[in-house]
Symmetry: C2
Subunit: 522 residues, 2 copies
């Protein structure tokens, strides 16, 4: 897992940037702070049109920075999206997908056997080449077995959990999720780290905030550039907030969680100001996938005017709120219509650090600095996968669907609805509909809600199809899928006895090892 | 039609305001500038989350002023909404409704016999009591027969048309709509005032912009306070823009129209700055009803996250973009969650002018100055009518539907869809569903899209119902409906021979007079 040879290009970059947009401070690459939300939707921020407008700090961050209204996750589900962020590669390449069924979403529950492959280069590993200290605060979600531990993949510090904060479990059929500090667990959710499902009270966002503030202060004292990956999860069901925020939102408990996050982001940016490192700290805010409409209205967010939500490859499933903030470098109050991807945060971070991209593999992320610093727009496709199936692609303003599916009739009849209140005939289908020969194409500018497929006979359709076909053919011709990591499950690999459990007296006995195909219903 | 006795209270107001929020200039009541859009939706502005974000001037207006995310029209259709704005009264009171069918929307097409009753006091009539010069630029829509002429109802000047810019007609079965300057027509749409339906080109917004700028400059020279009602219609189908704006939007022709309007608003606010009268000019931007989704995606706008559009009493039909701007008086960058109504512009304008409200009738509008100047919130209901049927009411965060209906199955099967891509079971119904005994209640904060009715058995439902019931009983007990103006149609009353037609040689011969019940299908 040694990082590839890294050419330190950042001195050159700083010289260029000094010429282009301002004075340069210490000869140190900028700090990188990624604020990654969990199941937060495009429409959850005031600046993105949320009617209650309860995110003054994030709205101010946008006013001081650059908004990306056309920014996408790499998958409509958490684990693959996060793996893509940290590898700069599509889940189909880095292995975060399943082949157990056609076009199935998969992630890393406790029983998953797989995780991030050793062969993948993660961003914090590579950033070591430029002297960065790296910390992950919050949810890892790239595999919870020992070989997948974030400190084995480049992070220097970790405070958080390997899986979602589901529970409470009985520690017999299923253990509660551990919370780690660095190498060892320090407790479990619903035990040492309580979440009150009835009231929604949990102080975790405050804890994660303190972890972030402390880390940044320490790195500033040490004069080390830092990479902080703040992957908090208060907006993922079960949604929670700490007591001072409970009941304060016009939007209910979900809004309470958003308000606490907004307040925390305000405090993080304030610290950067207080430490006088705003001009040397690149901050990016986004989310891992669209709002989970199955949990709405009490535990799910908003995808604004977009179609459907998490789990789907419609815009509501993968278009994300995104704000870049770097006062003095990124011009204030700008909007970029660059098609952006969560994978771009990998490539952009390496560019910021003056590091070369790994040259032995395909990297899907784009360097966003030209867009952010010079308003440049680069043509690039956005691919929408479900499992190993390419469901759709966006190119310019056109989105082509090769497959449409929400979920099965069986699930839908049980009340599992990824598109509540929405129904576009022939589009939000409950059977997997193939359109690979003649894709459904939408113009996302005129029709962001994907309601009006272009007429197959129109010149506009034929022109768009021509462009899309070329890009997809090229993509598929050169694609080498990684070994699928999300096929095999086993109750024995759950978090029974994480490292450090002995000290706490919290080791549990795993059941017999029975590997089986994971069941991915949608 | 003499205005009621007007007590000039504005000196007192100015003294109070000087104490409260800054120095006072000349002892003259502030100018009032109402920018009323046509069929523009809540979601059409960048500041309201439109993804293409093409309204920099309106977004800046919001940043410098106050945003009202909970602002409503008085009707989901144009004429009643405009009558409500200018009278401060619900259409059921001022006569802008029909009783020809149950819960039917009605407006003022060319064949309408009715119009604004003489007994109604219009805002410009009343503002004469404080010395205002008043002009309407654009669409009147309060009746086109001679007795309804805007200059007979308080306006000093008019440039625009009495009806929608539908056409072109053949001037045999149906005349083209006239365009008036003051008392007389100066031409007709598609003749002297061309609109190219193929290309979407028309220079009308530029003409309306010049009319506005000229009027304001003249009043400034004359040192008269002015009331300018800028009721432009480029976003009403057929949507149009002038050549420099055509093809410039990411959103297609509708976006071109929005961009031209945004540019025009920028020029209007610039003129106020150039004339140094920003601190003495109150500006309010809003729209007459929700976006016309039947015209989407090419000729209709966006209602953001809200349900359905124009013609319906769901949020998408009646919640409007709204921005108040008065630098130095209204604090910059604020958001008010006051439930606001287009009728409040009547009451607020009278308060600004220091005039008393008419005391001989019910006024539904609220004075928004306490909300705008002091951030005060006042409890008040929003009533949603269709014809003479109270369909719904919003009180605080709760909206109760007494009737649900989109349109008939017959229309829907013909492809007339007021809720494209949206379908909430039991809510977006195609038969008129009565819920007067047990209304469907939604919490608009958690559920702005009206997708999840509260459980009838919940405490929350019962509490909300209690509040709503009291307010509705009080409303209905005291309600005295006006004489319905929108019941009778007659081909003979169309714009065959408007005043001034002789000079232009453009008089047409009306057919035989045959009054009949207007047909209002939805």
């Amino acid at each position: 897992m040694a990082p590839v040879a890294a050419v330190t290009r950042w001195r050159l970059l700083l010289v260029l940037s000094a010429a282009g947009f301002g004075a340069v401070g210490a000869p140190k690459p900028p700090n990188i702070l990624l604020l990654l939300m969990d199941d937060m939707g495009w429409g959850d921020l005031g600046v993105y049109g949320e009617p209650s407008r309860e995110t003054p700090n994030l709205d101010r961050m946008a006013a001081e920075g650059m908004l990306f209204p056309n920014f996408y996750s790499a998958n409509p589900l958490c684990s693959p999206s996060r793996a893509a962020l940290l590898t700069g590669r599509l889940p189909i390449r880095n292995g975060f997908y399943t082949t157990n069924g056609h076009a199935r979403n998969a992630y890393t529950p406790q029983e998953i056997v797989g995780g991030i492959p050793d062969g993948e280069h993660l961003l914090p590993e590579l950033l070591k080449g430029a002297g960065y200290a790296s910390k992950i605060v919050g949810k890892w979600h790239l595999g919870h077995r020992p070989q997948f531990h974030p400190l084995k993949h480049g992070f220097d510090e970790w405070f958080g959990s390997p899986n979602c904060h589901f529970g409470p479990y009985d520690n017999r059929a299923r253990p509660n999720i551990p919370v780690y500090r660095d190498w060892e667990m320090v407790g479990r959710y619903y035990e040492e780290f309580p979440i009150n499902l009835r009231t929604g009270e949990a102080n975790l966002t405050q804890v994660y905030l303190q972890e972030a503030l402390d880390f940044m202060k320490r790195q500033q004292v040490a004069q080390r550039p830092f990479f902080l990956y703040w992957a908090i999860d208060a907006t993922h069901a079960p949604v929670y907030a700490s007591r001072p925020f409970l009941g304060t939102s016009r939007r209910g408990r979900y809004g309470d969680a958003v308000r606490e996050i907004d307040d925390s982001v305000g405090k993080i940016l304030s610290l950067l100001r207080d430490l006088r490192i705003t001009e040397n700290t690149f901050v990016f805010f986004t989310s891992d996938n669209g709002a989970a409409l199955i949990s709405a209205p009490k535990q799910g967010g908003s995808n604004g005017p977009f179609l459907c939500g998490k789990q789907t490859t419609f815009e509501g499933g993968m278009r994300e709120p995104a704000i870049a903030w770097w006062p003095g470098r990124i011009p204030a109050g700008q909007v970029s219509h660059q098609l952006g991807s969560i994978m771009d945060l990998f490539t952009t971070s390496l560019a910021l650090a003056g590091l070369a991209l790994p040259s032995d593999r395909v990297i899907d992320g784009l360097d966003l600095l030209p867009a952010m610093l010079r308003g440049q727009l680069t043509d690039r496709p956005i691919f929408y996968y479900r499992g190993n199936t390419l469901m759709a692609v966006t190119l310019g303003q056109y989105k082509a669907h090769f497959w449409t599916w929400t979920n099965s009739w069986e699930e839908y009849r049980q009340g599992i609805d990824f598109c509540p209140g929405q129904n576009v005939s022939g589009v939000t289908t409950h059977t997997q509909e193939e359109h690979t020969k003649l894709p459904l194409i939408f113009h996302l500018g005129r029709d962001p809600g994907e309601r009006y497929p272009l007429s197959f006979a129109s010149t506009e359709y034929l022109d768009a199809l021509r462009g899309v076909t070329l890009v997809v053919q090229q993509h598929q011709k050169t694609l080498v899928p990684g070994q699928p990591q999300l096929n095999v499950c086993n109750q024995a690999v759950m978090n029974w006895a994480p490292p450090g459990c002995e000290k706490l007296g919290k080791c549990l006995t795993p059941p017999e090892s029975i590997p089986e195909k994971c069941s991915w219903p949608h």
